[in-house]
């Protein structure tokens, strides 16, 4: 009698542990629940696509995204926002999050990116390279120095020996793209993937490899997540051949 009660208690408590308890096996069809993924702004288009594909492969799982400038995301995570996975646009922010104790497990690099100058379609101001950003009459904007793209653009400009003061320090690559689209600014520095995602609304001017900066994008599960297995599955998917080829179609460079 007591043994039966004890077994009952064990079974009930196992069941009460939540949906995760039943999904210890990595079999994709038994996953259910949803996760919140905070990802850098430059991952908007690609991660939305990855999310849809991941859901198709795992119908019981939903993925919610929050895209913003990487430093903004770090702040939100550290202030207690509910989040399961974090994809950063550089290693500096990821290191900060890790050092502050907000990560679970170690981060993995899943993609790389490089910079490109963004201009209005038709390139009306005739920007040919980084030096032209300093041309009089050109309104150049970029991301703030704590945003990875902003940090890298400063590096690229320094490498090319170009001195130019931006007219504004935006909070994310998306904001820079928006202002170029609106016609408020003439040029900015964003990632190649951003220009591809914006399609015909903007045009890109390549930056030579000598001055360009390769951005490394790591991904990690966030400490305190209640869906470690879905997190692992999602990260695995991003790192898988399918995921990598999806990222490549959006213009990302491979992880290695």
């Amino acid at each position: 009698m007591r043994v039966r009660v004890a077994l009952l208690v064990v079974v009930v408590s196992l069941a009460a542990c939540g949906g995760g308890a039943a999904a210890t096996s990595p079999s994709s069809t038994s996953l259910s629940g949803y996760i919140n993924v905070f990802a850098a702004a430059s991952l908007t288009a690609s991660f939305n696509a990855l999310g849809i594909a991941f859901h198709k492969a795992n119908p019981g799982v939903g993925v919610n995204f929050n895209f913003a400038g990487t430093p903004t995301l770090v702040t939100q995570i550290e202030q207690g926002a509910p989040v399961d996975v974090f994809a950063s646009a550089d290693t500096t922010n990821m290191d900060k999050l890790t050092a502050d104790g907000f990560t679970s497990g170690s981060s993995r690099v899943f993609a790389r990116n490089q910079l490109e100058i963004v201009v209005a379609p038709g390139n009306p101001k005739g920007i040919a390279g980084l030096a032209d950003l300093a041309k009089p009459g050109v309104i150049y904007i970029t991301e703030g120095p704590t945003v990875p793209a902003g940090k890298y653009s400063l590096q690229a400009l320094a490498s090319a020996g170009v001195k130019v003061t931006p007219k504004s320090l935006e909070t994310s690559v998306s904001a820079v793209i928006s202002k170029i689209e609106l016609g408020e600014a003439d040029a900015g520095i964003v990632y190649t993937t951003d220009i591809q995602a914006a399609g015909s609304k903007v045009q890109g001017v390549p930056i030579p490899a000598a001055d360009n900066v390769i951005a490394t994008y790591p991904i990690v599960a966030v400490k305190g997540t209640k869906n470690q297995d879905i997190d692992d599955a999602f990260i695995a998917y991003v790192l898988s051949a399918t995921g990598q080829s999806t990222l490549a179609t959006f213009g990302f460079l491979s992880a290695s």
Partner: protein
């Protein structure tokens, strides 16, 4: 004076309401790193942002007075078809999300905007990314407060004083400056202060329309927002400063803004 006992059904919600406002202030005071306060406050970026904020908000208030008082006067004194619609339009920024206001400003005064493109092609003047743009964004969101307050003051003043002045030979301008304005003094003052306080705290329209650059367009609210990502504790201190400025203003106003 005999004190009447306040009913419980009033005290409890009132206490909760008060706590709702007091707790955040306490949170800021407790979490702010007072040791580093002086350093945070005197850092060059902070002083730059503070100076820019003061200059821009005072300019916005001045523009608000010059443009807003005549508007308030028209709303209070002149009947014309479409007046209510016009009043609603000029009051809209009060309920509009500030970012929406910023977008609207871009579409009108941005480089490709309705009016902005003309400015650019004729004079080569662009307003986004300039301090003037900051003043415009702040005026846009803050002026409605001034207009409403001054209009209320004009409506509630005894207009017979104006008749008395006219009967004494005062021209309409003299009536306005020597009689009307002094009589609505309290409303004028309250309206200007509300306008200034709102302009000081403006964020969404500023960052959308004017952008963000230290010394040119990075006002205190923008600086605080960005500091949150780089130096959280410094951002707490600056938040406290902004909060205390607002508190001083409001306590100073007391019930002046309720009565003409």
């Amino acid at each position: 004076m005999r004190r009447e006992r306040v009913p419980i059904v009033v005290i409890v919600p009132a206490a909760i309401g008060a706590a709702f406002f007091i707790l955040p202030l306490l949170g800021l005071i407790v979490r702010s790193p007072w040791r580093d306060a002086v350093a945070a406050l005197t850092a060059p970026e902070t002083l730059e942002a503070l100076k820019l904020s003061l200059v821009a908000s005072l300019s916005a208030t001045a523009v608000g007075l010059v443009l807003g008082v005549p508007l308030a006067w028209i709303y209070a004194r002149v009947e014309f078809p479409g007046r209510d619609l016009l009043r609603a339009l000029t009051t809209l920024p009060m309920v509009l999300p500030p970012v929406v206001g910023g977008i609207a400003l871009l579409l009108a005064f941005g480089r490709r905007g309705l009016f902005g493109s003309w400015l650019d092609s004729t004079f080569g003047i662009t307003l986004p990314f300039t301090t003037a743009g900051v003043v415009m964004a702040e005026t846009f969101v803050a002026m409605p407060f001034l207009i409403l307050t001054v209009e209320a003051g004009l409506r509630s003043m005894d207009r017979r004083y104006e008749e008395a002045a006219r009967a004494l030979g005062a021209s309409r301008w003299r009536v306005f400056t020597r009689v009307t304005l002094p009589l609505i003094g309290p409303s004028l003052f309250a309206g200007a202060v509300l306008c200034w306080a709102r302009a000081l705290g403006e964020f969404g329209a500023t960052i959308t329309f004017a952008g963000n650059f230290p010394g040119v367009t990075q006002t205190m609210p923008l600086a605080v927002y960005l500091l949150l990502e780089t130096n959280q504790e410094a951002s707490f201190i600056l938040s406290l400063v902004l909060l205390l400025i607002s508190l001083v203003v409001l306590v100073g106003l007391r019930h002046r803004w309720l009565i003409a």
